[in-house]
Structure formats: C-alpha cells, structure tokens
C-alpha cells in the first residue's frame, strides 16, 4: 500500500529531478525561512537585519549547489537533459542564466541593506520575495514547456510587482507598481492567449514536441501559428521592455526602490531573453514567414527610441531606464542571427550588461543619502572634486555602457555586432546591415547622453548635494568593487567568460 504510493511518487518526481533543482530549492527554503522569521523575531529592524544575512546565506548556498551542478558537465553539455518528464530542461542556457540570476541577486541584496536603512522600511518580506523571484527566474530559464514558462513567469512577475510597490508609503512606488501590474497582467494575458492557440494547433505544450509537430506535420494553419507567435512576442517583448511594449519600464523603474530597479533592469530582462532564445531561435524556426525582419524592426525601434528619449532625461534612474530599453534593442539585434553564435552573443551581452548596469545603479544607490534623494543629474555636478573615486567609477560604468574599450561594454557590443555582421555575410540580407549601421549610430547617441552625466561630474561646479558626504558601507562597497572589477576585467581579458558563454552554443543543437 505504502510502497505503491511511494512508487507513484517516485515516478512523478525521482531523486535526480530534485538534485537538478537544488539551487532553486535552496532559494525556496531560505526564502520561506525568512517569511517565517516574523513568527520568532518581533522587533522589526532586528528582523530586517537577520533576514538580510539569511538572504545572503541563501544565495550563497544556492550558488554553492549551483557550482556543484556546473561540475557535472555530462548533464548540460551538448543538448542538455530534461527533468520532471520534460517540464524542465537543464542545458547550457539554463546553467548560464542561473549564473546571471544568482550574481544579480547577490549584488542586489548587498545594495539593499544601506538603502533600506536610509529609507527606514523594515518589512523583511523584501528579501524573501527577492529570493523567490530569483528562484522563479531560474525555473523560467530552464522550463521546457509552455505551462512551465507561463507559471514561472507569473511567479517572478508577482514577486516583482510587490517589490516595486514595496515603499507603500510613497505614491511613486505604488503608482509604479500599479502600472507595472496592470500592464504586466494585460500582456501576460496576451501571451497566454498565444500559448493557448499554439496548444490548439499542436495539441501539446512541450517545446520539443511542438517543434517536432511544427516541422513534420504540415496540416496546421500557419496564419494561426504566426498570430500566436506574435502574441507570444508581445508578452515577451513586454518583459524585456521592447518598444512599443516598454511604456511601463521608465515609470516602474523610477518608482521602485533603487536596488529593485537595478535588479529589474537586469534579471527579469535576462529571464525574458532566455525565453526568447528558447522560442524564437529554436521553436518558431520552421515558420516560413521571416519573423526575423519583424524582430529586426523591433530591435531598431527599441534601441533608437530608447536612446532618443534618454537624451532629454533629467532623472538618472529614468535615464538609465531608457538606456536599458535601448540595450534591450541591442540584445534583440544579437538575436537576429538565430544560430549558436547569436545565443553566445546574447549571453555575453547580458553578462557584461549585468556588471556595468548594476554598477551604475549602485552608484545611484550610494548617492542616496539621508534626506538627499540624489537622483537628479545636477546632483552629480562636480563630483570629481568632492568624491573622486565614485566619480571615476561612475565614469567607467558609463563608458562601459556606451561600449568604449577596454570595458565590458565593448565586448558586449562587439558580440552583438559580430553576430549580425556574420549573418549578413552569410545571407546577403541588406536589412541586417542596416540594423548594424543603425546600431552603430545609436552607440554614438548613447555616448552623448551618458556623457551628459560625465560632463556634470567633471566639468560642473560642486553643489551642496555633491558636497554632502557619501558613506559607503562594506556591502555596497563590495558590490561596487565587484562590478567595477568585472567591468574592467571582462574588457581586458574576456576569454574565460566567452568560454562560459560557449556552453550555451550547443544547448539548442537539436533545433539548428
């Protein structure tokens, strides 16, 4: 009796599935632990402190088990391995994005401490939600089934809705939350509709099966499939904030607590792009209608509009929001090639983007001081005189964002451009060339508005705000250090990271 039930359980989820899921489980456990903390520790500030450390431990543990996972090359190298009866797939892409999410999470948590103290918000759920959202993203990156994708996506989204609105006593925060929420729900409904249609056409939700069906059987109606694909595109485009689905982005970014903004600007985008890889590089390939040109258009519009609007911004968070939109455009550019190289280039871009963008945001966070918001560009005037180190760090991050060597940003740009050019040379498709050239022009525009900040820092006269002392505590200092180091290091010696990115190349082999 008991044995039978055990057997059944065993069939449903056997031990190796659990093993594959340990990183997620770690996060889950520690997150829940933090939630339960409120039962034991009544005093808010104290609880906040403890949960902060718990969160760090959680990330570290998960990271540790993640590294253990990495050691077992046989699992994820070539093609990868499916778990939970094909619901979840552990391949190069998954592994790579795990890394991105974990690093982002760690840095975000580092940054949160001081910031929340300054703002004096002490709801410890903050960290729990952070961990859980990270976990959700990890599932998302690995999910091999429409259902999995949808659920993990929603899981992540819900956590982040809450986090955006975390400063519930500030209208900005709440407004950001409501906007993000409504639009998010709206777009995910679209996504869902698309998925349902796909299911309707193919009768299955597993990506591999769908792919098989789409390639072999030709008795399904292509228009429906295309429409559903477009709907999915909308949903994912919303997540990565591609124009014209980007509207939520600046508001949510500006409203949200800055660490969360930093987090959102990297992790959910990355997750979104993971799905992009899974769907648009592989799944929809058989479609005869070349949606590449659609993507190309999307990327052009995205990077251009993002850049152009950024030029006139005066609030640095908003500026970075728009810049992140344009970066999304660049990543989409990398997507166009639809081959191993594209996967690689996107991976590299996101990795570099992680460090430089979070670096920039950590400067913004550090600039947040008691009773000084420090989010206006003019608050950075003459920073070089008052805080030379911070100013030079910021300069490096901005240079990197603009893609000037020798910084990570250049490597990133290098990869997306090269993927496009490569594809252009292969298929003499002029559109790709135009995309590349427009990308080049955009790089110039981007430099212009990044240097509006640099200009203020180096050539402006110090103001009261910039004179105010900046207290960098150990954690924010650490995150600054890490991001700075990697921004430079990747720029100078990208070798190991590229190898790491190469993992992903094989993982979609089945689809090429």
């Amino acid at each position: 009796m008991l044995g039978d039930s055990l057997k059944i359980v065993n069939n449903i989820l056997n031990i190796k599935d659990i093993a594959a899921f340990t990183p997620q489980f770690q996060l889950l456990i520690w997150g829940i632990a933090i939630l339960f903390l409120s039962v034991f520790v009544k005093e808010k500030a104290k609880r906040m402190n403890i949960s902060f450390y718990l969160a760090i431990i959680g990330i570290l543990f998960s990271g540790w088990s993640y590294l253990k996972l990495v050691e077992v090359k046989s699992i994820y190298s070539n093609g990868g391995m499916v778990f939970f009866n094909g619901l979840f797939k552990l391949d190069g892409i998954t592994i790579f994005f795990y890394g991105i999410f974990l690093i982002t999470g760690l840095l975000t948590i580092f940054l949160s401490k001081r910031f929340l103290d300054e703002e004096s918000y002490f709801e410890s759920e903050y960290y729990a939600l952070l961990l859980l959202s990270i976990m959700a993203m990890m599932c998302m990156a690995g999910s091999n089934d429409l259902i999995g994708i949808y659920i993990s996506l929603e899981f992540m989204a819900i956590c982040i809705y809450v986090l955006v609105g975390y400063f519930k006593r500030q209208l900005r925060s709440t407004e950001g939350a409501i906007k993000y929420f409504i639009l998010g729900a709206f777009s995910s409904a679209m996504l869902l509709f698309g998925m349902s249609v796909i299911y309707g056409i193919t009768g299955t939700t597993g990506l591999s099966e769908i792919f098989k069906k789409v390639t072999t059987a030709n008795n399904f109606s292509e228009p429906l499939l295309v429409m559903s694909m477009l709907l999915v595109l909308v949903g994912m485009g919303f997540k990565v904030a591609a124009v014209p689905f980007h509207m939520w982005c600046p508001d949510a970014y500006e409203g949200a607590p800055t660490p969360i903004t930093a987090f959102m600007s990297v992790a959910p985008k990355a997750a979104g792009f993971a799905i992009f890889l899974r769907l648009f590089i592989s799944l929809f390939k058989p479609i005869t209608f070349d949606y590449v040109s659609v993507l190309a258009l999307l990327s052009i519009v995205t990077m251009t509009v993002g850049n152009i609007i950024a030029v006139k911004q005066t609030n640095i968070k908003r500026l970075l929001a728009y810049s992140s939109i344009s970066h999304a455009g660049f990543v989409l550019m990398g997507l166009l090639a639809r081959n191993e190289f594209a996967v690689k280039s996107i991976g590299m871009y996101l990795l570099c983007y992680l460090f430089m963008n979070i670096g920039a945001f950590s400067i913004v966070i550090v600039m947040r001081r008691k009773n000084i918001v420090g989010e206006e560009l003019d608050d950075y005037k003459g920073l070089i005189h008052t805080h030379p180190v911070i100013a030079s760090f910021m300069t490096v991050f901005l240079l990197s964002l603009a893609g000037i060597p020798p910084t990570a940003g250049f490597v990133a740009k290098y990869f997306v451009f090269s993927s496009v050019i490569k594809e252009f040379l292969r298929t003499n498709d002029r559109l790709l060339l135009y995309v590349a050239i427009i990308g080049a022009i955009n790089a110039v525009i981007a430099l212009y508005y990044y240097f509006r900040i640099v200009k203020r820092m180096f050539m402006g006269e110090p103001t009261e705000v910039s004179k105010e002392k900046v207290a960098v505590n150990i954690f924010s200092g650490a995150s600054l250090g890490i991001t700075f180091f990697f921004t430079i290091f990747i720029g100078i010696y990208a070798e190991p990271f590229i190898r790491f990115a190469n993992l992903m190349g094989k993982s979609l082999k089945a689809f090429f």
């Binding site: 050019i421 240097f451 180096f458």
Partner: protein
Amino acid sequence: MEILGVPILNAVTYFPLIGFLIILLIPKKKETLIKIVANVTAFIGFLISLPLIINWYKPEVIKGMKDGMRYVIDVPWIRTIGARYQFGIDGISLLLVLLTTLLGFIAILSSWSAIKTRVKEYYIYMLLLQTGMLGVFMATDLFLFYVFWEVMLVPMYFLIGVWGGPRKLYAAIKFFLYTLAGSVLMLLAILALYFKYISIFGWDHRTFSLFKFLHAGLDPQFQFWAFLAFFVGFAIKVPMFPFHTWLPDAHVEAPTAGSVILAGVLLKMGTYGFVRFSLPLFPDAMIKFTPLLMTLCVIGIIYGALVAMMQTDMKKLVAYSSVSHLGMTMLGVFALTQIGLQGGVVQMINHGISTGALFLIVGIVYERRHTRLIKEYGGLSHSMPVYATIFLIMTLSSIGLPGLNGFIGEFMILQGTFARTDLRVYAILAASGVILGAAYMLWLYQRVMFGKLDKEENKKMKDLNLREVFTFVPLIIMAVWIGIYPSFWLKYLKNPVKRITDIYQKKLAENKINVGHKYKVDYKGMKKIINNKMSEE
C-alpha cells in the same frame, strides 16, 4: 630586444602608466611633485623609445623580424575569438612612435606653467593619452588596434573639456562623437573582414591579425564597402575635407599641450591608419577611389589654406593650416607611388613637428596675454627677439622652405603624385597650395611680429624663458635635420613603403593606368613659327 626583461614595445607603451600610477598616489596638493613626476616619466619614456632606432639594424633584431615587423610581440589574447596581443613596428611606425614620445614629452614640459587648475588629473590624462597613442602605432592586430584607437579618445575628451577655452564642452563632445561615429563604422568593417576571412579559411583560422588578412584575397565588391567604412573612420580622424569641421573647434578650445598632441599625433593616427590598413588591405577599392580621394585632398589643400588666410584667431589659423597640410599628406599617400608614400609619411612627421611647434608658439603668447586674436598683437619682434626667431623658423618650415623639413615632404609628395601620369593634374593643382601656404603664414607672421609695438601690454611681454626655449630646441633640431639630411629617416621607410607599393605595381598595370604613358600635343601655331625660322636661315 628587452628592457629589464620587458619586451621593449611593452616598455615603451606602458611606461607612462607607471608615472600615472605614481601620480595617482600623490595627494592633489603636492602640485610641483606631480609635475616633476610627470615630466620625468615623459622624458624617460622618450629615452626608452630611443633603443628602438639604435638597435634597428642589430642582427638579432633583424632575425626577430616577422612580416617586416621588428620587436614583434605576439601572444594569444582572447583565444575564443582569435584576437591576439600583437605588437610590432616597421619603419613607418618607428618614426611615428618616436614622434609621439618626443611630442608627448614636449607637450608635458610645455604645460608646466600653463596648467594651474586640477594639475593632478591633467597629468594623469596626458600620460594615459600617451599610452593610448603609442598602442595605436604598434598594434598589428585589428582588435587590439581598435581598442587603443578608442581608448585614447577618453583622455583627450577630458583634456579639451576640462582645461579648454570658453566653448570647451561643445568642442570636446563634438570631437568625441565625430571620432566615435567614424570608428564604430570601422568596427563593423573590421568584423566584416574577420568573418570574411573565416568564411574563406574556416573557423579554426579565425584571426584579427593584419598580416593574415593581407593574404585573404578579398573580392572587389567586399573591398569597396570595407574600404568605405575604414575611410570614414580614418578620414574623420585625419581630417579630410568634408569631415574636418571638428578640428578647428577642438584645436581652438583645447589647451596648448592638447592642441600639440592633437595636431602632432592624433591626426597622424588617421593618416597612419590609411597607410597601415586601408592601402594594403583594399588595393582594388583604393584604385577605384583614387580620383575621388585625390579630389578631396586637393580641395582640402586649397580650401584649408584659403580659410586659414581669413582667420582672425591665431590658433584657428594654424588649425586650418593643418587641414591644408594633411590634405597634402594624404595626396602623397593616395598617389600610391614609392616617393609619394615616403613623402607622405615624412610629411606626417613634419606636420607633427612644425604645427606642434606653431601651437606651442601660439600658446606662449596666449599664456602671457590670454588672447589669441591676431589684431591684439603686432611688433612683438621688438619685445621678444628669441620668440621671433623661433616663430620665423617654424613658419618657414611649415611653408616648405628648402633646407627645412617642410620642403622635403612637400617636394616628395608632389613629385610622387606627378609620377602617376593620370594624376598629374592633381599634383599641379595641389602645388598651388604651396603659394597660399606662404601667403597665410607670412601674413600671420607679419601681423603678429612686425609693425609698431603700440599696445602697452605687448610692450612689457617677457621673452621666452629657458624652459620654453628647451621645449623648442628638439623640434628645431629635427626640422633642420630632416631638411638637410632626410636620407637618414627615409632609409627606415624604404622597405615598408616598397611592400605596399609592390601590391599596386601589378594592380595599376592591370587597370591600364600605366605609368610610362606618353602624350603629344600638336600645336598648330608652332608649325608656322618653325617654318618661318627655317625659311629665314
């Protein structure tokens, strides 16, 4: 060839960084100390670049040659994409490297008293800039080249933007964006080249090395586009005629030392880029474009000269004169003949020397009077004879008086262009730039140095002090040396230039542009005269 175990090229390139680090550690307040460190660094930097030329013909150095490059450093850098850390210099780079180290030292020396604010940062940027520029002239791996090419933009931006004149912010960002726009296109072209090579030789032979690309055998169509992209990148830097408008602004606003480096070295990066990359890589496209390029050069020469003539601001005048001079340089380069090319390279050096010196000269009076308007001056020869003499020498060298460096360059360029019978008309047009050159320079000299010494503040202007004189001495020596005995420098150029022109020998023959073509104008009226003469006798 090593210095203290460091390969010499690395030593030369990165030595400024040592000074940079030291200065980083010195507190802001200790300005004199910072200045001393910077000057010493720059000077030693110059000294350790001398072994390059001293050991040039040493057997072990010659043995170490690879693809005509000496002191080669070649280690894998980013294996996965095939980028290598590949340094090496031939005669062309040698001269430019020496020029860079020399001018760098002079520029730093010249700014001893000129720079009063934010001294620490200033020298930091100067030294960074130095490293960046040297790297550009040594890199033979396009990826590496591109990295250095962009790196040196940033310090220059700050030099102009922080220590510049009234409209410095505008000039600085304009400079940066202009150059970046060009170089990003160049990046695309580099990538195209890279993948083209891969598509021919396979992924395992992926590389950015110039010398590999040389054997790729690119099809004309591809060359056409790639050349255009490179052209934009380099032409903006040179700057050639339609792309030159950033130059006057940058020059006028930049601090003196900045202008010196800008004119002396940065512009050379463009011309050098053409010589090192565009010419060998895209011969077919080059030949196709020659008439257009020549036209641009000629326009640049005459146009620049005429605009210079009308300037009221000394620095702007000199800036436009560089537009003219660089037009001349590029004329020689695009002539694709040995002499033209050699002349072009020599003219790069000359321009670095004489224009650099002219900017220093302008800087000196600016430092004393804080104005650059020509009409503010006049009759300075009375109050500052030494200054007058140096100014005169440099003016003459810039208008190409025989016996000084300018003449050698211009003469060889024109002769070299003239050697291409299909390009003679350009040579003839370009030669008229020499007249205009004399016109605007002498006019400038007259307006500044001659005439009555009427203005009070000019009367009590101090003549050059010893430091300032020393900044000029090496330049004058070089000017005379190149003027009297250029063979010494030309011999370093012979082989590299030959390597480039040999590519074109064949191509030109193929394209029916034969150099030995004969023409014969039959002149009706003449016949009559002759006949009369004959009948008389």
